[in-house]
């Protein structure tokens, strides 16, 4: 009984933030330090958010190692986005990069240092000097633990600033009134199983990505797209959901990343016939071809029946010819991962691999102040009062069709802070909580009541597994018209099946089966949005690669997709090509 007793507890805050990764905590800090009463909800302890997995660093044109300039960084980001990024937001982000990095330094972030005491920077793929010239050195890092260090730094500051954390709480649904304004959320306290209304003058989603919709994903289990599910059910569109970044080689079945270093050292890929198939796709570069090329080749081999294993759904990465000494000396981490997760010692046998989903470029549409924008009244980008989103769950859009490495940690810092500042301004005008609509908790309770009463349904795990396999097979890294068409029908059926799942445990206290069922509802929203958006976009751009439309088509598709859950309808809005102060970067062919 999800609290259907009639009286639901209610608590009031100035701001409620869902998600305690880097984005949520950066925004929370801004608000708490301004003296606002802030609640931050998290399914897990804040320092165990997925931000902890970010190793690459934070992009900022500090110029500490080589000459650099925010305008060059902007160019790289626009180009990397395959011109789908909004250039006003990208200028905003790149211009603020140095400031947010220095700010984080003052918060106590243990950045690596140069001998002269300045922040150490290292080069990273996609970073150039002088608009596509020599390699730039732009990434600020704390060893290989940048995300980890950032989370700990922000968590400590938040505790000091009296941010109130609700740990092991899950957001259930958005509360929107008749005007479309957001006045808080319903949430589940996992410990007691009680549902509570958290009423707020500002509600900010920072719930991270949702790559758990794919069977092979580098994302932690918590990344179930909860914010996107809540937004979609609340009538907010999801933007550019067809754009997902994949890595070509994840361990088959579990998705754990096998770094490109393996192929750099001389490892190569084989199909079920033992053929070194990359020679056919990239005669010169072979296994060292770019990520996109390798990913597409893997998918094509599987689609044409040359995959390995019972389900013919993966390929093999061979290293044994390198010899035990080279593997032990140069690739010890990879060997450890292969042995642990594929139960294969690469000294003796190949590693089974498949492309693995890594980052979601799409999300809840926002402007560069972190305000959620949707075409629900008169204009295409009308501000949804009281509602904000930042980080991977948001689509500003600074990443467009593809994200550059080290731009995600920058994104969460810049827009976490910007959203915080915008909320402070907005709350000066909105000094009172709006009354809650009468039906504010119905949606969340209906889902819980259904679960409590459901008998003889399918298991959550079964529907979830089928959903993930369907997404991987029909809407993976390389997409085919027939597979997408079938995929749309399949996810539709799966969405229906998810409404009839049964959980055995009907109790309240720490009912993880219930939490997983609620997570499945969110995964379904993300998956359906992805499949429908991908099927409709008949071009290849950034990470969205189609077999039948191999080229980018700016005449027809230089626009953002908006997917509405209600009626599963699509709409589109123009890309913002005009930056804030500089000249626009017009679309041109993207070569590296």
């Amino acid at each position: 009984m999800g609290g259907g007793a009639g009286v639901i507890a209610r608590r009031k805050f100035d701001a409620v933030i869902v998600g305690a990764g880097g984005a949520g905590m950066r925004a929370a800090l801004q608000l708490s330090e301004a003296g606002l009463k802030v609640a931050v909800l998290s399914k897990v302890f804040p320092t165990r958010s997925h931000t902890v997995a970010a190793q690459g660093g934070i992009a900022a044109a500090l110029g500490n190692v080589t000459e650099d300039n925010w305008h060059w960084h902007m160019y790289d980001t626009v180009k990397g986005s395959d011109y789908l990024g909004d250039q006003d937001a990208i200028e905003f982000m790149c211009r603020q990069a140095s400031e947010v990095v220095y700010e984080l330094e003052h918060f106590g972030m243990p950045f690596d240092r140069l001998e002269n005491g300045k922040i150490y920077q290292r080069p990273f793929g996609g970073q150039s000097q002088n608009f596509g010239g020599a390699q730039a050195t732009r990434s600020c890092a704390a060893a290989d633990r940048t995300g980890h260090a950032m989370l700990h730094t922000l968590y400590q500051r938040n505790v000091r600033a009296n941010t109130q954390f609700f740990i092991e709480w899950m957001g259930l649904d958005l509360i929107r009134d008749e005007d479309g304004d957001v006045s808080g959320i319903t949430a589940l306290d996992m410990e007691t199983g009680e549902v509570m209304v958290l009423q707020a003058r500002a509600t900010l989603f920072a719930t991270g990505g949702g790559a758990r919709i794919f069977s092979a994903s580098t994302n932690a289990f918590i990344n179930t797209g909860d914010g996107l599910g809540m937004a979609a059910r609340g009538g907010i569109p999801l933007e550019d959901m067809e754009f997902w970044q994949f890595h070509p080689t994840g361990v088959y079945g579990v998705g754990v990343l096998i770094s490109e270093a393996v192929r750099g050292e001389g490892g190569y890929l084989l199909n079920k016939d033992g053929e070194r198939f990359m020679e056919r796709y990239a005669p010169h570069a072979k296994d060292l071809a770019s990520r996109d090329v390798v990913s597409r080749a893997l998918t094509t081999e599987i689609k044409e029946g040359r995959g390995c294993g019972r389900d013919a759904d993966h390929l093999l990465l061979k290293l044994d010819h390198l010899g035990a000494d080279v593997i032990k000396m140069r690739l010890p981490g990879i060997r450890e991962i292969a042995m642990k997760f594929a139960h294969a010692d690469p000294i003796h046998e190949p590693i089974p691999v498949a492309p693995t989903a890594h980052y979601m470029m799409g999300g809840i549409p926002t402007n560069f102040y972190g305000q959620v924008v949707a075409p629900y009244k008169t204009g295409p980008e009308e501000v949804v009062q009281g509602f904000y989103a930042v980080g991977e769950c948001a689509c500003v859009s600074v990443h467009g069709g593809n994200r550059l490495g080290t731009n995600s940690l920058l994104d969460i810092l810049v827009f976490g802070r910007a959203a915080g500042n915008q909320i402070i301004e907005d709350l000066k005008k909105n000094t009172h909580h709006k009354p809650l609509p009468a039906d504010s908790i119905d949606k969340a309770l209906a889902r819980l009541t259904r679960l409590d009463g459901q008998k003889s349904g399918e298991s959550v795990a079964q529907v979830g597994d089928t959903l993930r396999k369907t997404m991987q097979m029909h809407c993976g890294v390389f997409r085919f018209a027939d597979m997408l068409k079938q995929g749309v029908v399949k996810v539709d059926e799966l969405a229906e099946r998810a409404k009839h799942t049964e959980i055995r445990d009907k109790s309240r206290v720490f009912n993880t089966a219930r939490v997983e069922a609620l997570e499945l509802d969110n995964l379904v929203e993300v998956a359906v949005a992805t499949m429908i958006s991908a099927e409709a976009r008949t071009e290849s751009r950034g990470a969205h690669a189609r077999d039948d439309f191999p080229k980018r088509d700016d005449d027809k598709w230089l626009k953002h997709t908006l997917y509405f859950s209600e009626g599963r309808r699509l709409d589109y809005k123009p890309v913002r090509l005009k930056p804030l102060t500089v000249e626009s970067f017009p679309p041109k062919a993207r070569t590296y």
């Binding site: 399914k43 897990v44 320092t47 165990r48 958010s49 997925h50 931000t51 902890v52 997995a53 633990r145 980890h148 989370l151 700990h152 092991e168 996992m190 994903s217 580098t218 994302n219 932690a220 289990f221 918590i222 579990v254 998705g255 754990v256 981490g333 450890e336 991962i337 642990k340 997760f341 109790s507 206290v509 720490f510 009912n511 993880t512 939490v515």
Partner: protein
């Protein structure tokens, strides 16, 4: 009450590698732990993700040797 579920949830981490190893551990070893083992496991779960993963992947020595028995189970699963 619900100690198993609680432990299972606290195995949800920020790193996928840990999610997988800890889930396997829960499926195979958790119910057989005695009180000392449960305490060791709890201490390990309270470590930061990166530290715990490096200990499991044998890249970092465990500082408290009392944790070695449960850590060994995690390293070998």
């Amino acid at each position: 009450m619900k100690e198993l579920e609680r432990a299972r949830w606290r195995c949800r981490r920020g790193l996928l590698e840990l999610d997988i190893v800890l889930q396997r551990f829960m499926d195979v070893h958790y119910v057989q732990l005695d009180e000392t083992g449960l305490r060791q496991f709890d201490t390990l779960l309270n470590l930061p993700d990166n530290d715990l993963w490096e200990m499991i992947a044998l890249r970092k020595e465990v500082e408290d040797s009392n944790l070695q028995p449960v850590l060994y189970l995690l390293q070998t699963i």
